[in-house]
């Protein structure tokens, strides 16, 4: 490996090492939480609901839960990691190294992405043991999950960089992200909602992400797959460019 590769690998390894050192909190807790959702909404409530659009309710719900695990963990990892390092001052060690803004941004982003991917994969494996979970459109599923993970990893970086106290991160996650995810159709189909909530759901960007992932697994969607993929790609690219600009300027990182 050359110098730049060693540098990037170390920056990324530090991010992965951080969440692996507290894996009960960063891997175990989200897995348990998802398992509880599957148990309560799938097994208990699902036995009353029967089928949604011809799909077993528990199978309908699981793609949304996988997407939710991926997104929340990607986001939470990066926002916490950056804020903690800013708080401790430890981020100065990376900032005073020869690493470029692009290297720093990618390393921070990939830390959260890997954690999200790990939790999502474990959720998928656990769910597959409990129910017969199909993968109907793998060529949609893989780019959709990749984009969802990377989008929320970027969002986590953005919030972590902007945040000045832990409250700022908690606010973004609890009062913005989680309501959008829950109201984006993880547990239900938008067609079941009365107006104006059905129309309002279409203004929630996460609704499109959930539908993409659901389409990848069970072949059902309430939105255009091509359009959703395109919009998600554009949104992820835009967020990445915003973050790159912030890192280049040293926004709230360098005095």
């Amino acid at each position: 490996m050359n110098t730049a590769q060693i540098r990037f690998a170390t920056l990324w390894r530090r991010e992965v090492n951080r969440f692996m050192k507290i894996k009960k909190q960063t891997i175990g807790a989200p897995l348990l939480e998802t398992f509880l959702y599957i148990s309560v909404f799938g097994a208990a409530l699902g036995s009353r609901i029967d089928k949604l659009h011809g799909i077993d309710y528990v199978v309908f719900v699981i793609p949304g839960l996988i997407m939710m695990s991926f997104s929340i963990n990607s986001f939470a990892n990066n926002s916490s990691s950056i804020l903690q390092q800013k708080f401790q001052g430890a981020i100065q060690d990376q900032l005073s190294s020869p690493a470029s803004p692009l290297e720093l941004l990618l390393a921070f982003s990939l830390g959260g992405f890997v954690r999200g991917l790990l939790v999502a994969m474990l959720t998928f494996i656990a769910a597959s043991l409990l129910v017969d979970l199909p993968v109907d459109h793998v060529l949609v599923l893989i780019p959709a999950l990749f984009l969802v993970g990377f989008f929320f990893a970027q969002l986590g970086v953005l919030i972590g960089v902007r945040a000045e106290q832990f409250d700022d991160v908690a606010f973004a996650q609890t009062f913005i992200l989680q309501p959008l995810i829950f109201l984006g159709g993880v547990f239900y189909s938008a067609t079941l909602l009365p107006e104006p909530f059905q129309t309002l759901t279409h203004f929630n960007p996460i609704f499109y992400m959930i539908n993409l992932v659901r389409y990848g697994f069970v072949g059902f969607t309430e939105v255009s797959v091509a359009l959703s993929l395109l919009a998600l790609t554009a949104a992820t690219a835009a967020l990445f460019l915003v973050n790159l600009r912030l890192f280049g300027r040293g926004y709230r990182l360098r005095a």
């Binding site: 540098r7 090492n17 401790q88 001052g89 430890a90 060690d93 190294s97 360098r254 005095a255």
Partner: protein
């Protein structure tokens, strides 16, 4: 930029730093440190010492002027400039999640050092700074003195040519302070250029080849300890410093020593 011809370890020219709050921390600072020098930067709190260091290491972005580290522009060619610098900051900015050994290993990795070399260098510096027994302990469990040692070891990990020590002996016991003095002198004799900021004037007098006084964002005096004393018309560096900050009345020469009672 005529002042920066000829490679200096650090060449700062008309450096300015104005924070978004409007505070002018640096107002046209110029100074040069020759390769191999042990250079002291003295000044009261808030004078601009740390800001100058942060601008040199990329932790702050200058709003005017120029900095070169061994001929590399610290802005335009920041990667080469930062590669040449090791920073031991004033505040212990250690990562609580990492062990002592990991702290050193990651730092060297950020500077592109290969794995085998990192392992050997980590072992060497753990021994040098009496940290071998603490290698696998998390940094948050270390005492203040141990943290100070680790910060210095971390700054040395990638073998910087310019070592910047921002008040390295603040709050440490006498034994560790003297250990650090010996270490600074040794690595300086081995060729590492050192920029030292300190509030301990005897430390600067004892260790530094040359000293600069910085006050209100400006370099107001530069030279050897004797030259600075002569400039302010006083007998020692401490009185020169007190003259600089306008507190001559605090000079030790004004303290009356009570006669020992004769039994």
């Amino acid at each position: 930029m005529h002042r920066l011809r000829g490679v200096k370890a650090l060449a700062v020219d008309k450096l300015e730093k104005r924070y978004p709050t409007g505070v002018e921390a640096l107002r046209g600072v110029s100074l040069e440190i020759k390769p191999g020098e042990l250079f002291g930067l003295l000044g009261p709190n808030g004078a601009g010492k740390s800001t100058l260091i942060h601008c040199t290491t990329g932790l702050a972005q200058p709003t005017g002027g120029e900095i070169q580290v061994f001929g590399h522009d610290a802005i335009a060619n920041y990667a080469d400039a930062r590669q040449a610098v090791g920073l031991a900051p004033q505040e212990p900015n250690l990562d609580w999640f990492l062990t002592v050994a990991e702290t050193l290993d990651y730092h060297a990795g950020y500077f592109g050092m290969p794995k085998r070399e990192r392992r050997e260098r980590t072992k060497e510096l753990l021994e040098t700074f009496s940290l071998t027994e603490k290698a696998d302990e998390r940094t948050r469990t270390l005492s203040g003195g141990m943290k100070r040692r680790l910060i210095l070891a971390r700054a040395m990990m990638h073998r910087p040519r310019l070592l910047i020590l921002d008040e390295p002996t603040a709050g440490v016991d006498v034994e560790l302070r003297l250990e650090l003095w010996h270490y600074m002198q040794r690595i300086n004799q081995e060729g590492t250029t050192i920029l030292l900021t300190t509030h301990y004037l005897e430390e600067a007098e004892q260790l530094c080849d040359r000293i600069a006084f910085i006050n209100e964002g400006r370099i107001v005096g530069e030279g050897t300890s004797a030259q600075l004393s002569a400039r302010y018309g006083v007998g020692n560096l401490e009185d020169a410093y007190l003259a600089l900050v306008g507190r001559k009345e605090l000079s030790r020469s004004h303290i009356e020593v009570e006669a020992e009672p004769v039994s």
